[in-house]
Symmetry: D2
Subunit: 288 residues, 4 copies
């Protein structure tokens, strides 16, 4: 049993904290075991992919009433959050472009029907710019200068660093608050860029998080804490761990009844054939 | 450097072999290092998800000319192959049901808009049954007995064990070969079940594999062999390894020009912020 | 030239008025020419199909914060409004059932991947009920009695007659206003039904109408009035007319630049081959 | 009752014949009544939209084994056939551009998430060119000269006039038949264009027509002939008529049981409210 201070990390809300946890661990400065709950499958898929698929639409509508059909949108980053945003926008008739640094995600974007471009190639023509990278200064002042009038800019990634908002706090630009969470930044020639939530997270600032997603994430965190607390001495050292697959599966199974979903059980013979326990875990730990 | 006998495994074609490799390793009987190429991201996504999304349609059309619109289909298994099949069939207007043993995959199916059922709940009403489980005896004689007339049954998973075809080789049933790879199995009351490829893999037997997918998979395998061959003594022991992330990314990057996709490069500042090398790898090894 | 009183009708906001106009005309009591702008292609597609595809999501989110993924939804009516609602909900992972009276629309629903059912077949299991019929008493007290706890009920069709809200104003039911436009109607056993906008139009009461759609509809109406006003004596009698195709096309062409869309022009040779004027109209009047 | 010679027209197979019928009628040279079955809703939607949504994929796969994911495709014409082709290709991960002459169809393409371009804007970059216009010389020798190596060209529209195939029968180009229905046309610099079915209809030449669609179309034609035959003297003059709505609905209702679809019936009260007969027709004649 571990006493005191067990940590769990959830990146949508703790962002850079996760990297920081791994850095502490590498430096040998982590003084308690920690669980990286953020990278469990249920957290990744439900909090990021499925939740953002809905909150990108909700956040944009509540702030700008924009119509999605026919709009040209560039999404920076095609991780889980980016994939969710793109799926929703494409389904509602937007034309979506992707920027990516990772060739695997870029190739997935191609297969999903999106053109992969550098931001500069499309910045003059798009109606909406959305960042989902976890990075900083993805949208720079130079990009903002080149956007067309009425372009909407927002951040679905992490923290408030993805759009270089500081670069917009200069004397030649006028800020006009047109609604809660919505600023018009006005260039000397009259061009307006519509900045949402001052570059902070759109999904947390301008849309709601469904109770279902909160339930998934909270359950995952609670189970991680219980596991750390109950684990026999020595199971966890002063390091960062992924949530054991079996707990990840348990979180999911607790939420199936909401959808009246009926799981199939393995027969003894099938379990033996697959080399699995009938109660799981059903997949290797690296499976997503 | 390793001499001789380096193994690489690709599951679409080697199926159970992969489990067997891990079993050998566990038993201490693996006499060379092996790379589990099958579970690299490029293999998983491109060979399984994206390729099967197309070959399920192709395989069904070439063998049966079935119209997808309005058809009720049950897909057993919602892993990468199942996800690909379901996405394609849903897009073309089929109504798709899922069976799953794994609660995480089941919950994903719910989020993607599919009802998760036990096979018995829908077996009397569906027009098509597709297995993608990697398991055996998923479709049993009892299920086959309950299918409606003209129901199409096929396997996209692995090997030829998913449908219990042996149980159909009994005197009271008549087999009629109506076309290459297509058998009508006829019950005494005249009911016909349309069995494709005698339960072997539909995507390999009845559709083609696009050269793009072959290129991805072959590149991954070749790189794995080169890595095993070139690795300094001691890097790989007599165990099963995942392909290093960086190679996985390299495979992807080699295929981006076919789509005229343009990667974004990290600035020095951004790379430092993310704690990444500008040339990758960009994601932790467990990322999919 | 016609003096005074020219009428134009737009059904999303005038609903039954349109039927009434045709009835007046049949009865010989229409005293001025009228244009049925509602049934022009641009009005039908943009105000109904494309606008409702977005406002159903917006209206539901703003009032209930419901997550769409995995939800079971029944949509009553598969006309343009129903088609729009269903496309959006399906894309976001809802499982959608349709009720229809018209076999052509029902068959389209099948082809689009929806099960066509009677309301009673699914009323106990669905999470959301949406009416888009133009009819009255589509959702009756009997249906409301059988809904499960927390079921959301709303109207996207016309007027406030589609849900029999009057039947809920009885002593044994308690109404609780939980938010603007959101009532919980509470049964004696504690079951709550979530009624939106007291059965009035969700898209007008609880979501916004994009300026693009307003522009389309207003342009159509303005052109109809100009045409009626400018038409030579005798072109229009005391009857109900559809907007001439050419004007419908003109409305569309005025809105193409917002999307940077580039029309192709017919060559003389092609125009001759098709028997068309190079400037349109390009389709017969009944084309949608 | 009409004796002899009643005509029905079905455009997928009779294409230009339909225009010709209207021209005959205009010129007063039509000597029998004719029904334009092609423009009935069931024919338009099922034979064109829903059938082509499947046959474009089938035709391309059987002839070229092309992978759709990530491919850039231009579809000329966004009528019912074009809409079907685009929906299918988009769903399978292709990036689709549209060319259109009609602003209404062009605006629909925008709303559905496609960029509307002139053919010249994208001809150098696309992997596949598909014509669905009903027009002639839509793809000219000049376009063919500018296509990139391996570009696939095919026709889903009508007749064999949409692609100017004649212009490719010149001495400097070499034709190589690589498979039934597939020609490589080779430019002096080695560039190959992949021409399918020599520019004839891909869906008829290289894919199959599902029995369901044949049944819809044949039923429509048969009913039209029966109606012309049985109609009381004087109902039909020597002109071209659309199929009465009620018959269109009847065709649809005959096909609902294949999908286990259950129609809802109007109550007397509802029928009265809507001013409809409980047995239909349920929509005005111009409704699609």
């Amino acid at each position: 049993m571990i006493s005191g201070g067990a940590l769990t990390a959830v990146s949508t809300w703790m962002g850079g904290k996760l990297t920081w946890l791994y850095q502490l661990s590498k430096a040998g400065k982590l003084c308690v075991p920690a669980m990286n709950v953020n990278d469990s499958v249920t957290k990744q898929k439900f909090d990021n992919l499925y939740c953002c698929r809905e909150s990108i639409l909700d956040g944009l509508k509540r702030t700008t009433d924009v119509m999605f059909g026919g709009k040209q949108v560039v999404v920076c980053g095609y991780g889980e959050v980016g994939k969710g945003c793109c799926a929703a926008l494409k389904a509602l008739g937007a034309i979506v472009y992707i920027t990516e640094i990772d060739p695997i995600c870029a190739l997935q974007a191609c297969m999903d029907g999106f053109r992969v471009v550098k931001l500069n190639e499309v910045i003059r023509q798009v109606d909406v710019v959305i960042t989902c990278t976890g990075n900083k200064n993805v949208v720079t002042r130079e990009h903002l200068d080149r956007m067309k009038n009425s372009c909407i800019v927002c951040n679905m990634g992490h923290s408030n660093t993805e759009i270089d908002v500081t670069s917009l706090r200069t004397p030649e630009l006028t800020w006009e608050r047109v609604r809660s969470q919505v600023d018009h930044v006005i260039w000397p020639d009259g061009k307006r860029v519509v900045l949402l939530a001052e570059g902070r997270l759109l999904n947390l600032s301008c849309s709601t998080v469904p109770t279902f997603v909160l339930s998934i994430t909270a359950t995952t965190q609670a189970l991680a804490l219980i596991e750390l607390y109950n684990a026999p001495e020595g199971r966890y050292k002063q390091d960062v761990y992924l949530l054991p697959k079996k707990m990840d599966e348990y979180v999911a199974s607790l939420h199936l009844p909401s959808f009246d979903a009926h799981l199939t059980e393995l027969t003894d013979d099938q379990a033996k054939y697959l080399g699995l326990n009938k109660n799981g875990p059903f997949k290797p730990n690296y499976y997503r």
